[in-house]
């Protein structure tokens, strides 16, 4: 039997109780990561954490990422080193999706709080741990960030802001890698909220993106920093600088 001693990498995934966050947590668990998972619903989060089969530790902390106290607890739980921070938790806003002309401004503020302010605040709180580990921050975005699709204005604007923050962080931070990922349409609770009453099961399950995440996790962070990827695109590519074929 061959075995090599490895220090387990550590990841924090927000919105980890279902959908993409849960699928990604499952992959990271199987790959041997220690996990800190968070989501608002305590019952669903506990169930999700209990279903993970990897050998690493799993810490499930229910709470809202917009709550500074919760962020402090997450940061404390993470400890000294963080290899991967996935900003996956998102708010879609009102369902059915409202036109901007009619949207309730309190709902706009709430979406921006969850999708823009909270990820920045969590990144700030975890920056020392990320810097010590040479970690990677993933901002989960959407094609709505660029789309201008009717009804998607609030969510899309929040994701556009998240993406610009991620690009800026990539330029500002030394030794921490920041990438943006558009996972593509998936059959998730959030996608169902965007299309209430419609059958969305022609969309793939979140697990369809696992090959992409497996690829991403294997890349050198200096090659990824500042880049944007589409998980369901027909290629995931990096620029080649040298003449090696």
């Amino acid at each position: 039997m061959t075995a090599t001693a490895r220090v387990r990498p550590r990841a924090l995934v927000t919105g980890a109780s279902r959908g993409l966050g849960l699928a990604l947590a499952g992959l990271l668990s199987e790959l041997g990561y220690d996990l800190v998972l968070t989501a608002r619903g305590a019952t669903a989060l506990e169930r999700a954490a209990a279903g993970l089969r990897g050998d690493g530790a799993v810490h499930a902390l229910a709470g809202d990422v917009t709550d500074a106290g919760h962020r402090a607890r997450l940061s404390e739980r993470v400890g000294e080193h963080l290899d991967l921070l996935v900003h996956n938790a998102s708010s879609l806003g009102p369902s059915p999706l409202p036109a901007l002309a009619d949207v309730d401004l309190a709902a706009v503020r709430s979406v921006l709080e969850t999708n823009v302010v909270a990820p920045l605040a969590l990144t700030q709180a975890l920056l020392p741990a990320l810097e010590r580990a040479g970690g990677t921050v993933v901002a989960v975005s959407s094609d709505a960030a660029h789309g201008g699709y009717p009804g998607w204005g609030v969510y899309g604007a929040s994701k556009a802001a998240l993406e610009l923050m991620a690009r800026t962080l990539a330029a500002e931070l030394e030794g921490v890698c920041v990438v943006r990922v558009d996972p593509g349409d998936m059959a998730t609770v959030m996608h169902q909220q965007a299309f209430p009453g419609q059958d969305i099961n022609d969309r793939p399950a979140p697990e369809a993106t696992l090959p992409f995440w497996a690829w991403l996790l294997a890349q050198r962070s200096e090659d990824l920093d500042g880049r944007r990827f589409e998980a369901q695109a027909d290629a995931w590519t990096l620029t080649v600088e040298t003449g090696a074929a």
Binding site: E30, L31, L210, A214, D234, A235, V240, G243, A244, A245
Partner: protein, 358 residues
């Protein structure tokens, strides 16, 4: 360019062609003595592979795949007894996509569940964990290893082989003269007939050769075109270097033709073709080259004769058009040409003559 893939598929799927059951050099001839069918929009020519340089023109460029074949089939033991694992694609030092099989000849399926633990190798053993089935391809699994699997392949691996072979062949039989970067689960076989003599004759003719890398996964899997259109093909690692990208661009600008050696090269170049030319690029591609989804990175293709799998036919149809593909398969069946990785080869040329030539 016309038509849809299913129409072609239904026509040629009935084709039964003899597989090459041994490499050419064990059939009493040389690698470069296999036959060559040359198809262009005007005619089919029945030649020998050694005629290749004369069929091409000065200023043409052959683009080859320099991926070397791995001894990717390794023995395994786990909750389902003794079985084999075909290592298909390396995602990271300790993460692979792999196909568990009952044996070389029997695919299974094996009743493995996520979280299953197995040991691969005899002389060099490594514990692996079946992490999750590959989405859309449930016979393939993400497999996490406790230690690198390359030493297992070196100690105990064999080339993946299928039932039509007369007897197992050594790994060397699965390497082309261009093989340089280990990583393919199965031989990129279109380049197999090339010899040093071929290269000398191409050089004398003024035909260039450039390389890229695409590591093939196991070929036993097949996606329906409808699924492939939605999800893309199975993702494979590739790299197009700066020198190759520049040579391709220079060739096309000078009026020469870019001839892909193997469908792997077509997929890599079509992926790397952006804003009017091939760009240096690396990553994973699952691009499905099909009618209506061609960027124009290649002018021609040298390929083997394979089972008329639907995605392979879609690629040929995208490059050559439906009626020409149907004609060519009739020609190949009538002769017949030998199929599979040790068989004959087929050159598809475009209508246009090279502008830089003569």
């Amino acid at each position: 360019m016309s038509g849809t893939t299913p129409g072609v598929g239904s026509g040629v799927a009935r084709a039964v062609a003899p597989p090459a059951t041994l490499p050419a050099e064990l059939r009493g001839t040389d690698r470069d003595a296999v036959r060559l069918l040359v198809t262009d929009p005007h005619r089919h020519r029945h030649l020998c592979f050694r005629d290749l340089p004369q069929v091409l023109a000065p200023g043409d460029l052959l683009v080859v795949n320099d991926s070397a074949t791995l001894p990717a089939s390794v023995p395994a033991e786990g909750p389902v007894g003794r079985f084999r694992v075909s290592l298909s694609t390396r995602y990271g030092p300790l993460l692979w996509v792999a196909e568990p099989r009952r044996s070389h000849a029997e695919p299974g399926p094996l009743p493995l569940a996520a979280g299953a633990i197995a040991t691969v190798g005899h002389r060099h053993r490594v514990r692996v964990r079946f992490v999750a089935p590959h989405p859309g391809l449930p016979r393939l699994w993400f497999v996490a290893a406790e230690a690198p699997l390359e030493p297992v392949m070196t100690a105990d691996g064999e080339p993946i082989r299928y039932a039509y072979l007369e007897r197992p062949q050594p790994l060397e039989a699965y390497q082309s003269i261009f093989a340089r970067v280990p990583g393919s689960a199965e031989m990129p076989s279109a380049a197999r007939p090339f010899t040093h003599a071929t290269l000398a004759a191409l050089r004398a003719r003024g035909v260039g050769v450039s390389a890229l890398t695409l590591h093939t996964g196991v070929s036993s899997l097949e996606l329906e075109p409808r699924q492939a259109e939605r999800t893309g093909l199975y993702a494979e690692p590739f790299e197009v270097g700066t020198a190759t990208a520049e040579r391709i661009d220079a060739t096309q600008r000078a009026g020469g033709r870019v001839i892909a050696v193997g469908t792997t090269v077509v997929r890599a170049l079509e992926t790397a073709f952006e804003r009017g030319r091939v760009r240096p690029m690396r990553g994973f591609t699952r691009r499905f080259v099909r009618p209506g989804a061609v960027r124009g990175a290649v002018d021609g293709l040298l390929t083997g004769f394979h089972e008329p799998r639907s995605t392979h036919l879609a690629l040929l149809t995208a490059l050559a058009g439906e009626s020409l593909v149907r004609d060519a398969y009739q020609q190949a069946r009538a002769r017949p040409y030998l199929w599979h990785e040790f068989g004959d080869v087929h050159l598809w040329l475009p209508a246009r003559e090279p502008e830089a030539a003569q």
